[in-house]
């Protein structure tokens, strides 16, 4: 099980709803992949309402991270391997 604190992340949005992060990712990124809840990224299991958008910009991925008391954060983390994994999905 991964730990978000082990990642070198930038917070792009905080305390947002799933509708807000969907709109944010769709508005700001041209390369977007939709995954199902339970998808693993950086060893974290994604929580969310299906489908969950993940944005790609340069060498970074942009994805939502949800906790029960704090809502959802949109994080930007460098991850060439994760981008490769997203691009190779059918």
């Amino acid at each position: 099980m991964g730990c978000v604190e082990a990642l070198n992340y930038e917070i792009l949005l905080r305390y947002c709803s799933f509708k807000e992060y969907r709109a944010f990712i769709k508005e700001h990124y041209r390369e977007i992949y939709e995954v199902q809840p339970g998808y693993k990224i950086f060893d974290l299991t994604l929580i969310g309402v299906p489908p969950i958008p993940i944005g790609v910009e340069g060498d970074s991925v942009i994805f939502p991270y949800t906790k029960p008391c704090h809502g959802t954060f949109v994080l930007k983390v460098e991850g060439k391997e994760e981008i490769k994994k997203l691009r190779s999905r059918k």
């Binding site: 099980m1 709803s17 799933f18 509708k19 199902q36 809840p37 339970g38 693993k40 299991t45 994604l46 929580i47 969310g48 309402v49 299906p50 949800t66 906790k67 029960p68 008391c69 704090h70 809502g71 959802t72």
Partner: protein, 155 residues
Amino acid sequence: MEKDETRKEGLIVLGCPEAPAQVSLALYLAHSLRRSGYIPVVTGNPSARRLLAMADPECHYIDEMLDLDGCIEDTAAGERDYALTFVLVHRESGVSYAGTLSVVSAGRVIAVVFGKEAEALASLIDFECEKVVAQVVHNPMPLKKAIDRVMKWDV
């Protein structure tokens, strides 16, 4: 205590511990699951679990408590699943957990939506998931009745 492999497990997913009705609701669901032949398992963040553990110190109601991230991860990986899952929803994040369980679990998933914003939260559930909705904060009886009706525990 030895685990009975023949009994089905029922999962209760706790939300943020701030909601006053949550502990009563979780204990009632655990009691009802046990009475219906399920092994009651609870998951939630550490504070939510501690509040429940204090209310059930000898585990009369709850068989097992699991770390939230680990529980979701194991269910998503297919390592463990539950015949029936109740997701307690009183904040928007609860809708996300209900959405997640509706995808990663092959069992029946019911979102129990309560609190001041219950109707608005319930309207966000546009994915495949059963709902029990009651706009209650301190008086849990309408919620209890709604759950009993859906689960046919009132017969």
